[in-house]
């Protein structure tokens, strides 16, 4: 990681070494994979249990939950917006579904359906505020973060749903696997692939990038930016709902403060994954890998017996390094295009 930082900020020398490094700065997905492989090798040498099946499952399941939410967040960020309310949506959906199941009010599929619908509705709420109400996304979702969290507090009160309250079939899904791969991971990969195809191959996807790179130009060529933004927020809410359901399955214990602070991890995953915070560039694959990278760091800290207290600080440094790399790449890009023009 440190070599990457140095390469990112160092002035372009144009030598044989600089060229591949420059390529990596551009290919955030590839460089994340390389960094993870190198770090993984280091951690595995220090703590062999890193490569044990149980550990890899744990890391990838956590990464899947954050990764699914990060895909939704990435779509919103690509449109030059941000959704700060995801943690409240995750918490609210996790609790609502668990509460319905604990009371045996609904069957499992029905409760999951309610959870997905709830996530979608909360996302639509954000979308309406931003697209119709013309409230800046950061303000609107700061407001709905409070409101959705408040609704969760009303719903949950001091209550707590624990593992034993939930049907066995519900919580065991987090430990199920398909051909050795945890179900959560399969689901996350499927969601990333669908979102990636949607963004790359469809008109909606191209409109998302167009709105994010230049809203005025997008409006001029007839893209209904409001509608695209609305759809992005709705998708983000739905995916946060999926993450919320998985959250309940994985942790079993859900209460009013579940998922507090998760927005930071989700946005960190998006930024680390190379999505430009001002929209228009980046991929959902990057966001997914970003989530995996963060889960991996958390795991490495535990295995290397470093204090968990450092986790927050390291997350912060990772975010700063990622955004420094982005900026360095952007500057170089601008410099090279202006040179070409001159």
């Amino acid at each position: 990681m440190t070599t990457n930082v140095a390469a990112g900020v160092a002035p372009p020398t144009g030598g044989a070494v600089a060229r591949p490094l420059r390529f990596l700065a551009r290919q955030r997905e590839l460089s994340l994979v390389i960094v993870m492989v190198l770090l993984g090798a280091f951690v595995a040498l220090q703590a062999p249990q890193f490569l044990s099946r149980a550990n890899l499952v744990q890391v990838s399941v956590l990464a899947s939950i954050i990764g699914i939410a990060a895909v939704g967040q990435a779509i919103v960020v690509l449109t030059r917006n941000v959704d700060l309310s995801v943690e409240a949506i995750i918490g609210l959906v996790a609790f609502a579904v668990a509460d319905l199941l604990a009371g045996r009010t609904l069957s499992e599929p029905a409760a999951i359906g309610v959870g997905l619908g709830l996530g979608l509705v909360l996302g639509i709420g954000n979308g309406i505020l931003v697209s119709v109400g013309k409230v800046p996304a950061i303000v609107a979702t700061l407001g709905t973060l409070s409101i959705y969290r408040g609704l969760l507090l009303v719903l949950a009160g001091g209550k707590q749903v624990t593992l034993t309250d939930l049907p066995e079939g519900y919580t065991s899904i987090s430990r199920a696997d398909i051909a050795g791969v945890p179900v959560f991971v399969v689901l996350a990969v499927v969601i990333v692939v669908i979102a990636a195809i949607l963004l790359r191959q469809t008109r909606f996807g191209r409109q998302v990038y167009a709105v994010g790179s230049n809203p005025e130009a997008a409006a001029v060529i007839g893209i209904r930016a409001g509608l695209v933004t609305f759809a992005a927020f709705a998708a983000c809410g739905l995916l946060a709902g999926v993450a919320g359901i998985l959250w309940g399955m994985e942790f079993g214990t859900v209460n009013a403060s579940s998922a507090t602070g998760v927005t930071l991890s989700v946005i960190a995953a998006v930024v680390v994954g190379g999505v430009n915070i001002f929209g228009g560039s980046g991929t959902v694959v990057g966001a997914g890998l970003g989530a995996l990278f963060l889960a991996f760091i958390q795991n490495a800290l535990i295995l290397l017996r470093l204090s968990q207290f450092w986790l927050q600080a390291i997350y912060g440094i990772v975010i700063l390094v990622a955004v420094l790399l982005d900026a360095a790449f952007l500057r170089r890009l601008q410099r090279s295009t202006s040179r070409r023009r001159a």
Binding site: R80, V82, L129, G133, K134, V135, P136, I138, V139, A140, L142, G143, T144, L145, S146, I147, R149, G150, L151, L153, V154, G157, P215, E216, A219, T260, G261, L264, I267, A268, V271, I277, F278, S307, F309, W310, L311, Q312, A313, I314, Y315, G316, I317, I319, L320, V323, L324, A327, R331
Partner: protein, 341 residues
Amino acid sequence: MDTMTGRVRGLARWETLLLLIIVALVVIGTAVSPVFLTTRNVPNLIVAVIEVSIMALPMTLIIISGEIDLSVESMAGLACALLGVLSIAGVPLEAAIPVALVVGAIGGLFNGVLVTVFGLPSLVVTLGTLALYRGLALAILGSEGVSGFADWFTTFGFGTIPGTPVPWPAVLFIALAIVLGLVLHGTWWGRQIYATGKNNAAARFSGVRVARLKLVLFMLSGTVAALAGIILTARFASARADIGQGLTLTVVTIVLLGGVNIFGGRGTILGVVLAAIVLALLGNILRLTNVSAEIQSIAVGLLLIVSVVLPNIAHQLRSGLSRPGGGRLSVASAGAGEVEA
């Protein structure tokens, strides 16, 4: 000239509205609870929001200049953790407090350097340092709680000025509000802050030293956040690394409720002070009537959104009457302005 007077009138209306809300809340408060305006309740009402209100003052300047500082709550936590660690090491508070303030200034400087020298977006930089500073606080103090601070310190946190219901920390808030109000509205510096927030590039080309200005604002924000952390420590009479979590949300809410434009260039200190009072009264009334934290969280969120939606609708109605489509364009250009900054 016409737009100028229009804007002044618009701002005056916003602050009048806040004032009316305050009057209404006082009336409601005295109606629903006999203890509302007593000398026992008023200090509670004030201290409940004192730290967030103090942090909202430099945040106002930063948001008007077109940036944002999300790291304030963690800087408050770091200052608190520092007081704890230094207290364990036997350093007297008289020395520990200046150290905490200096660390606050350094933290702000770090934010400012990343934003101005490296040209990074403040939203992401301070999201990063939000995690970083909290992590440092946890790293130096762990999950320990430190108490046993000197009497004068906890008296400062709990007590009121003798003979008045005004808590000591409120004095700091009032002083800071007056100083920053004078700087923002009465000096060349203040006009530079507005100019930078309205159009960063234009301000730079007309001679505003934008980078230095923002650097100073971020240092101010970091220092004041550390001050808020010190007040929190005094008020709880204990130091913990996780103190102040989630406060940034309230700080930004106060600033925006005060009529400050999230994209910069517009807002007043008076509006923010009034917004802080609204929040203090609202929270207190809800607590007195046992409506509890749940509804309070919803009310604050609704208030924040309504405070933006209402002027937007009014603006669209007005511009819809004069020239169709004017409202939408202004929103788009506001978004573009943020990216430049």
